[in-house]
Symmetry: C2
Subunit: 369 residues, 2 copies
């Protein structure tokens, strides 16, 4: 028989990782408060109106809405349109100040799960691609919205594009802009976008410019091979040097084709910049309030990346999802669950310790008889 | 206050995922039995004597031994050298028969976590590479053992090799051998192996033959860039067609260099085949006993790969680690934790249902007052 007073746990962020952590903690018997600065749950995929999710090309709603509904219909306390404005963490108690339109409010927790996510890298910084200059150069998130609105049209003239190109690794794997790491999902998402285009409009030509195609695991045949063989998406190995204006309103992508070993200049009607991921402002701010260490790429440092990936450098603070680095949605959901049990067990252990004065390790089962 | 009789959960497999699931379940208050067919815990990484683990180049012991010690010193029931020989699953009870040298034994559980892992693809099947014919053609796991034994020597003559090559994607991304998917870790592990070599023996030449370098996420700069820039590991884009005997006992790797656009023939002293992953025999057998569906690549099918990756098609059976597909060690550990809370919560819900006759959804908190 196990008996314990319900652990009080704060989950910061209502995206895939935070939703997953909240529902699992609630079902395990914790008192859960989920705070989200936006007025809706679902995180970046919902806020930015992502379209279909790779590899099964399911609508984002089909993947995330069941999780959102579970949280909404549960007794998890949802604080939407609310930010965490102050945190005092000591003696096993986390005193948190929430700020919303309704004013300030305070509450005490035993542990915190940080699930504050990522933001898309701003492609204005890669000025040679002309984002913000040429209307038909758009980025990954603009194109997702276009697809989910079923409104595929050139921003410059509202016409259907005849040829679309994707430029992978914009703000990723690029020393020039100070972003060394790979975004883990750019290849898969771009291929998925091209597949969405080709399924509805097989007459549109689609080209993907890549350095390495990183459709790891099952994405290889589920996305890469399918796109190439069944849908005739074309892949060109090479990084685009610059984009310039061509004839009749076209855009010319100038690249070195590193397989054919020759310069390549192809006119396009639209170019999609597959932007990288970086830590969101919320992740940076909350990490500061919580006193967490950051790692070299600007994300939250896990206690041990290889064995304790959801622990942080502060013992009662756990982390899940893209706050620790780029990640696909299923991985963020899985980390939410993992952070949930780690936080739950942490509170069990620390209460056992207080109750008996014994060491934490021996007290793992203090409440289980 | 939460009170419940301890859920009884069986974890099958004592590798990274199973260890992680076991300790988290135990700490949450479950009665856990961990069954492992080998006589030691740690799974394939320990059984095959892996050397350092990417990206931090930590010894495998440093990553896995703390987890093993936690399980060993806990009251998790460890059944080593034992297999599950029969399972009857019905009415919320799983009747399991264990078979070991000591004979047969039966026990009843509320839920099962399958963590039966993967096996390295057998490179004999790619006959044109001469594994088993040329002694100096070895595979990924042979080389790991060599490194962990600190015994870097050509099998043919015991001498230190002057030039080593790695052939990526052996039994991966290869329609010819019926393995379409990518193994997710081959690039990283091969680069890691080359880094281990170069750190100890900078005079040895190291070449990696690749189709795409898939050092996703932070592996990009932590492994790929470091290997290339700091340690002078050389990367050649192209797939090796065949390996043949060269002069003075050397092996010649014949490739088409797809960047330089010319045939390449390089003599090596040793060639390492980076073999793919496939479902282990244990995974296939246990999935059959448990009545689980398999997916198209031969692994266990998660209930929903994109939102419920640790659920299976049987409601009281959960899955973690490489039983559902290739995966790095930290991801397997994380999935172990996720499967732990899903199994724990499943038992809570199903007991609530029985106790009150109410629907499962409403009973998520049946035991939490």
């Amino acid at each position: 028989m196990i008996c314990l007073a319900s652990p009080r746990i704060l989950v910061i962020g209502g995206g895939p990782a935070g939703l997953s952590a909240s529902i699992d903690l609630f079902e395990a018997g914790a008192d859960v408060v989920l705070v989200e600065k936006e007025d809706v749950l679902g995180g970046t995929p919902k806020k930015l109106h992502y379209s279909l999710i790779a590899p099964d090309l399911k609508p984002v709603e089909e993947v995330l809405d069941p999780l959102i509904r579970q949280v909404e219909s549960s007794a998890v306390t949802k604080k939407l349109g609310t930010v965490v404005s102050a945190i005092e963490n000591g003696n096993g108690h986390v005193n948190v100040t929430f700020t919303s339109n309704g004013g300030k409010e305070e509450a005490v927790f035993d542990a915190v799960i940080l699930a504050t996510g990522f933001t898309h890298w701003d492609p204005h910084k890669k000025y040679e691609y002309g984002y913000g200059v040429y209307p038909d150069v758009i980025d990954f998130k603009d194109f997702e919205k276009m697809l989910s609105d079923d409104n595929l049209a050139r921003p410059s003239n509202g016409k259907m594009p005849a040829r679309i190109g994707w430029l992978l690794c914009v703000g990723s794997r690029d020393r020039q802009v100070g972003k060394f790491y790979c975004c883990r999902v750019g290849c898969a998402v771009s291929i998925k976008q091209a597949m969405e285009v080709k399924k509805k409009h097989p007459e549109i030509d689609t080209y993907i410019y890549y350095m390495d195609i990183r459709t790891y695991g099952f994405w290889e045949d589920q996305l890469y091979w399918k796109a190439m063989e069944d849908l005739n998406v074309k892949f060109i190995r090479g990084r685009i040097g610059a984009i310039s204006k061509g004839d009749e309103g076209s855009l010319v992508a100038m690249a070195e084709d590193t397989i054919l070993q020759r310069p390549s200049e192809v006119p396009f009607d639209m170019l999609v910049l597959t932007t990288g991921m970086e830590a969101s402002q919320g992740t940076v701010e909350m990490a500061k309030l919580l006193g967490l260490e950051m790692e070299e790429h600007g994300f939250v440092r896990p206690l041990e990346a290889d064995s304790l990936p959801v622990h942080t450098t502060v013992e009662n603070v756990f982390v899940a999802g893209t706050a620790t680095g780029p990640k696909a949605i299923p991985d963020a959901i899985t980390e939410g669950s993992a952070a949930a049990i780690k936080a739950f067990n942490y509170v069990r252990r620390s209460r056992g310790k207080k109750a008996t004065g014994r060491s934490m390790k021996k007290d793992a089962r203090a409440y289980a008889e």
